[in-house]
Structure formats: C-alpha cells, structure tokens
Amino acid sequence: MSFWNFLINYRAEIFSRTLEHLILVSAAMLVAVLIGIPLGIALVRRPNLRRWVLGAANVIQTIPSLALFGFLIPVPFLGGIGARTATVALALYALLPILQNTYTGIAGVDPAVLESARGMGMTSRQILRDVQLPLSIAVILAGVRVAAIICIGIATIAAAIGAGGLGVFIFRGVAMVSNSVILAGAIPAALLAIGVDILLGLVEKKLTP
C-alpha cells in the first residue's frame, strides 16, 4: 500500500491520533508551566535551592525517555499504563527548559531597574507583576517553546506504554516494517511541532514589550 493510499484510508485515525497527541502534550505543558514558572521565580530568591532544583531537572533530562516511561509505570498514583503516566513523564521533560529560562529571564533583569522600583516604593508583588515578568516574558516564552517542541517529539514514545498519540503509527510501522505507516505518525508529529513553534513564536512577539 502506498503512503498516499494509507493516508486516505486511515485519515480518520490519523486525525484522532493527532488530537490525542495534542491533548497529551497540552496537558503535560500545562502542568510544566504551572510548576515551572512559579518555581523558576522562587529560585531567583533562593540561591541554595537553585542548585538542587536545576540539578534535578538536568538529571531528569538525561534519562532516556523510554526508560522514564518504564520507571513511572510501577509508581503509585502517578504511574500505571496509559495517558496519565505519559503526561507526568512529558511534564518532567518540559520542566527543565521552562525552569531554566524563567530563572535566567528574571535573574537577568537590570539591577538598576529593580533598585529604582524598590526605592520608589513598589511592593515585591508589583515588582514581579509590572517589572520582572514583563521584562523576562520573551525569555520565559522561549523556554516554553523549546519545551513544547521537546514534548511533541517525546510524546511519540508514549505509545509504548499505551498512552496513544501519533507514536501508535510509528510503533505499528516498525512492527510491520512499513515506512508508510511510520510516516503516517512521523509527518503529522513534525507538522505539529512546526505549527506549535510558529504559534508560540507569534505569542512571544505579541507579548514582548
């Protein structure tokens, strides 16, 4: 069966797998952003915590993805077979770039700007909201962008633990020794990555002061 025939015959499944993939990545990114950005901000004020947290995030990044999925299966509450485990693993991978960029962005704000903000009577909250976040939003979003791309790629492996997504085609294609089937997973995943990259690039541009 040629690639094009496969595409046409399986368009419904390709569509639903793409959707699955997107939901998986979105859920993981939501978790990573909700944890990563506040944690990154907290690290600026706690230098001794910084070493440990960034170190741990770095170590997680070095674990091969298939291994991490495997490790998580026996973990109670978070683990098991399926999308929940995959979300946790993906969120862990997305954490480092978000954490790292949030920290770098906030820590990189001109000290003179902070001194005058504090000296003129802004509260810590006002400084964070009106000065530090606006001035580092581009760097933070760049981290989110990298994290999203990483997640879309790694999410293809999630099919190995029954989480669905476009990886289903890739694993099936490998088993069937069929390039068409592999491509039916790989091409939409690549397009998804490019699309998300462009979209987040636009958001970045729009939010940059």
Binding site: D110, A112, V113, L114, E115, S116, A117, R118, G119, M120, G121, M122, T123, Q126, D130, V131, P134, L135, P209
Partner: protein
C-alpha cells in the same frame, strides 16, 4: 497625611547610625540632620559608606544600630513602602523601566498611590516641563530612545512626581558626559533652590559638591568625618578634606582656563 513639618522643619535625621554585614562594619556613628530647602552632600571616596548611608534612609538597607527619623517619625514606625513613596530616589544608572514610556515612568508613583487619572496626567506634564523635556516630543518615547542626559531628566521627574518632601540622589550625574553633566548640575541647582525639598546627594566629585551643596558631609572609611559649609571646606585642615581639595587643584591645573567654582551655599 500632609507635608507640614515640625517647628524646626526637620525632614531627615540620623542619630549615631551604623550598618554592618556579618561582622564587617560598613558605616558607623553617622549623625546628621537635613531640613527642607537644604542640600546635604555626602562626599567621599568609593567605598567610604556614602551610598550605604543613603540606602539606610529609604530602608533599602536596614540599620544595625542607631536611629533614623523621617519627618520626625522614627523610621521603624513607617511602613517601608509608604516611606519610600514619600522619598524621591535617583540613582546613577537611572533605572527607568525600559518597557514603559517616559509618561508611564514619570507617572509611576502617582499611579501606585492611585491618584485620579486626570491629576496624574497634569502632574506628568508639569514634571516634564520642570526638568526641561518637551511633553509632545518625549512623553510617548521609550527610555531606549533617549540620550543619557534626557534619561536622567526623566529620572529626576519621576522622583519628584509624587511631590515627596525628601529627595535622595546617588551620583545622579556621574555617568554623563562633562558638558551634559554641567548643564544638568546647573539646572538642578535652580530646581533645588525653588523646590524646598530636603535633598541628600551622594557624590565623589568635590566640584559638584561645591556647586550643588548647601552643606558637605565628608565620609572617610565608614565615618562621617565632618560637615562643612562649601567655603569652609576649601580651607579645612582635615587631611581627607585637603586630599579632595588638592585633587580639585590638580584637575584645574590641567585645564588652562579653570572656571571658578561657586557654591549655591555661598551666594545664599
């Protein structure tokens, strides 16, 4: 709250103030008073404790010993945020918010204090005119579109916007080219004479100190060695004061036609 002060009109008073980090004493035994209309210069070499003393006044640093009174109330009775909004603060690097326009920067404290918007706008206009910036031309610009001198003008306008009775200035003209610096110093003298603020001004430049100050406090190694009137300073026998006067002489010797230094304190 109003700006009325006590009978002797005291805006800032330091009593035997010290500051140390761990066991290192940075500043000790500093006492002085500043009244409205006065400009007290804190003069000294780098690391003599001038900037530290300035930051103790608006509680960017906390005193380790002694007491500071602002408008006759102990500093500790003030909410630090409220205190800082009553004290204008200008630093060498200006620290304008790069993502805000000039108008937004100048309006910062009035907006923090939730002034009605019409009053904020009017105040911004007044302040920009006060520091010699054309409102129509500059209000909508970002700090990156200004020259160094213009930026520092905005810095001064921002510090004065909420009409604070006290102004702290940390080498505000230090990073400017000599011509712009002289221009801003001159204008600042006129401004200071008109505004009736209590000003504490840090510099390591004796020429600037003589020009702007009504009194000059000489810092050496974390101590306030003495406070002089500008003309007294030139005739002081103190070794550190002589060192500063000599440096001035050396500078003037280099320039063939040395401009005569005249202090605001002297002609007043």
């Amino acid at each position: 709250m109003n700006t009325a002060l006590g009978a002797d009109g005291l805006a800032v008073e330091l009593r035997n103030v010290g500051y140390r980090v761990d066991k290192r004493q940075i500043v000790s035994g500093v006492s002085f008073k500043v009244a409205p209309g006065e400009t007290l210069i804190l003069l000294g070499r780098s690391g003599a404790g001038k900037t530290t003393t300035l930051k103790l006044i608006n509680r960017l640093l906390e005193t380790s010993s002694g007491e500071i009174f602002v408008e006759r109330r102990s500093q500790l009775e003030w909410d630090p945020i409220q205190l800082r909004r009553r004290i204008g603060y200008v630093i060498q690097d200006v620290g304008l918010f790069p993502h805000w326009t000039v108008e937004q920067n100048v309006a910062m404290v009035p907006r923090l204090e939730s002034w009605p918007e019409s009053r904020v706008r009017q105040r911004v206009r007044e302040m920009m005119e006060l520091v010699g910036l054309d409102v129509a031309k500059f209000a909508a610009r970002k700090p990156s579109e200004l020259s160094g001198g213009q930026r520092q003008r905005v810095g001064v306008a921002r510090a004065l916007a909420a009409d604070p009775p006290i102004l702290l200035m940390d080498e505000p003209f230090g990073a400017l080219d000599p011509v712009t610096r002289a221009e801003l110093q001159r204008e600042f003298c006129e401004l200071a004479a008109r505004l009736e603020k209590a000003i504490v001004f840090v510099t390591h430049d004796l020429r600037e100190a003589l020009l702007i100050g009504t009194r000059i406090g000489l810092f050496a190694e974390g101590h306030l060695a003495a406070i002089y009137k500008p003309d007294e300073f030139l005739h002081s026998s103190d070794a550190e004061a002589r060192a500063f006067v000599d440096s001035l002489g050396a500078e003037e010797g280099r320039e063939r036609s040395s401009p005569k230094v005249t202090g605001r304190g002297r002609k007043a």
